[in-house]
Symmetry: C3
Subunit: 301 residues, 3 copies
């Protein structure tokens, strides 16, 4: 593998390689040495958390980073092309981590430079490292990715993260529950895909409706701005807020995940239950990104 | 010790542990290895100097840093709570250094996360690492913290730094001279404290009034904005500017300190006298913060 | 050598020391260990590329950096003098890399602090590290600096970079072709200098006029703002754009260089010819700056 651009490029075996590498790094069985390695973190869109996770992953392996933010880039202000910026950074760094608001920019970057490129989110398109860390969180808590009962709640229409997750899990024979307001349901093309693959799913409107059947509940935010009518939002909101009182009948292996940042879609009284997993999930992001660096920069031995 | 939140939490023994650790690090007798350690520097308020000092302290021990500034934090902009931001950073870093404008925020942070928290200034409240570096500068130049004659000049009413210093020294039997305009005198609650501990002090209005008695003169800025009347400021100002000509009769061990940045309260003609100590004081800040990292992260052996 | 302020300070032997050190570092024959070393990068003017190059150079040798940008410097906002900022940073770092808009500021800095200072561009004055990387790029591609036929195209009147390059090469018996619009020709004082040193040069107005005689063509940008009349610019522009079709008769050793960022003065169809050298030139900037760190910080053994 030379780049990580889209989950659609990865075979099941490649996904499992990332999972196993992350697990070995977490357990201390593998310690990829990134000393004297440099990652260029090009963040044209702000994302503190993703940026910190990639920076932490490299620095805790002994490597270093340089960060370019859109607004700071005086060369772009001077009229430099995206391709020239990439080619120049490729002279400095060993790997480029790229976040932009433009679909396809990561794949384009991978064509322009001859060092590895990692897509850290390109607009509404793909965010494969988030998908990998979500899968790693699932495998860590459930022991497997296969045959799981996965609830996905929130804005399923526009949510890049949940689309990637559903796509990525679909090779592992899941059962899905999609929980959202009716006008924020999973897009038809995704549901058609699932049907054609014989993957079971049902659509619900209350976050706790069948919670006792779930292995994992993946919560995302329903943004106020999606509602035409603020009153509609206030009415709908409480159907998509997970509260501690809803957790009475859940399975022992049940875990709540969230890509973070959270606003109010998971009540803080959930945080100290054994089911809350979102902060550990953030930590898993570091191990997953260390695995990505290791795979792409030859650190598997 | 798990955190460094306030000088009020420290025993005399703990203060001396920081002093001795800083001295060992400076002399090369102790070299705490911070490789693969990561400090998260959360600076909600700008402070280049404090930020650089903490970053330098970690990097020169082989460790690394990630920096979050208030305005850059897209997660906070998205509505994330302070507690969630802290808990997420705690997944990435080994220690959090926190600077905010809000009193009590550092203690709150220490309750939220299970990694060490260092208070790098929380509003008007506490700045314990400045106090420790000031004490280290005093012990280095005077050989002791005990029984010293300490002048403190400038804005004594609002100056967080001088309050911490006076509080911290009060266990070491000092004699104080407080030098300030009458309306910027040391607050009564601090003077009452000193009286109740039988600590000698007198209040003066001219910076060189009893300078020949002093071991240390700690100068801080009198801000123009404190004066209702600009003319009043111009008249008062020169009483609080230290000039070379005032140093004729000082003791050999006399040293001038300043937390920096200085504006004009110490004339630059003082800089090349043997009494000027403010730039070395900045360097002492690095050793002191290295001692803090060493104590809190288990680097004493 | 304690500082690198201006090419005018360097003897031919010192220039060659930088060249040889850069070559050894690039070939892996010298690996200066910068662990626990810290470079303070003070960039009062934005320059992503120069900043990244200096940061990369230090980090890939195992060292670290702290960066101060003009607008972030809260101490300067509080009224701190440039001299005090420098003296404080000198307590933290092992070397200062300084970029400002003010001529002479780097030399002033070197007088104020007792750690090495590197001039990373001071206004219209000097940019010696760019000159050194240009020389290194020439010696790498031509095998020598002596007796070369060098074309310099673009804004020769205001271009700091080309002035430094012409000055630096003048000790190596070059032949120059200066290619520019008539009102952006090389200043008389530089041409007088060349005449007094018996250095051959001619002034041309078309970029491909005598391209077949050249060993190196150094292209810089002609800025639209230099033209009083926009129509004049449109007419002139194409005379200073290098296109692939112009390269038919060039020598095998011919190379095109550019300080980057480029806008449109080199057509992208030149990029995949064997003559394009501007991206490698950027990489040479890293080796050259590593050589500078090595020379100034005692890393030659």
């Amino acid at each position: 593998m030379n780049n990580l651009i889209s989950m659609r490029d990865l075979t099941k075996e490649e996904i499992m390689l990332f999972m196993e590498t992350a697990a070995k790094i977490e357990k201390g069985e593998l310690n990829p040495n990134m000393e004297r390695k440099l990652a260029a973190l090009m963040f044209y869109e702000p994302s503190t958390r993703t940026h910190f996770s990639f920076a932490t992953a490299m620095k805790k392996l002994g490597g270093q980073t340089i960060t370019m933010r859109g607004t700071q880039n005086s060369s772009v202000q001077k009229g430099e092309s995206f391709a020239d910026t990439l080619q120049t950074l490729a002279q400095y760094a060993d790997i480029i981590v790229l976040r932009t608001g433009i679909e396809g920019s990561a794949r384009y970057a991978a064509e322009v430079v001859d060092i590895p490129v990692v897509n850290a989110g390109d607009g509404a398109n793909q965010h494969p490292t988030q998908a990998l860390l979500d899968l790693y969180s699932i495998i860590k808590t459930q022991g497997t990715l296969e045959n799981l009962n996965i609830g996905v709640a929130g804005d399923l229409r526009f949510g890049r993260t949940v689309h990637s997750l559903v796509y990525s899990l679909s090779e592992f024979n899941p059962k899905f529950k999609f929980i959202s307001p009716s006008f924020l349901q999973m897009p038809s093309y995704i549901k058609d895909d699932l049907v054609s693959q014989n993957i079971e799913f049902e659509e619900l409107q209350e976050i706790d409706q069948k919670i006792e059947e779930l292995d994992v509940l993946y919560v995302t935010r329903v943004q106020r701005e999606r509602f035409a009518d603020p009153e509609e939002y206030e009415k709908a909101k409480s159907s998509y807020i997970l509260r501690r009182s809803m957790l009475a009948g859940v399975k022992d292996n049940f875990r709540v995940m969230h890509p973070l940042p959270r606003v109010d879609e998971i009540s803080t009284d959930v945080d100290d239950t054994p089911y809350a997993y979102y902060f550990q999930q953030a930590k898993n992001g570091v191990y997953t990104r260390q695995a990505i660096y290791a795979v792409l920069l030859g650190g598997l031995k």
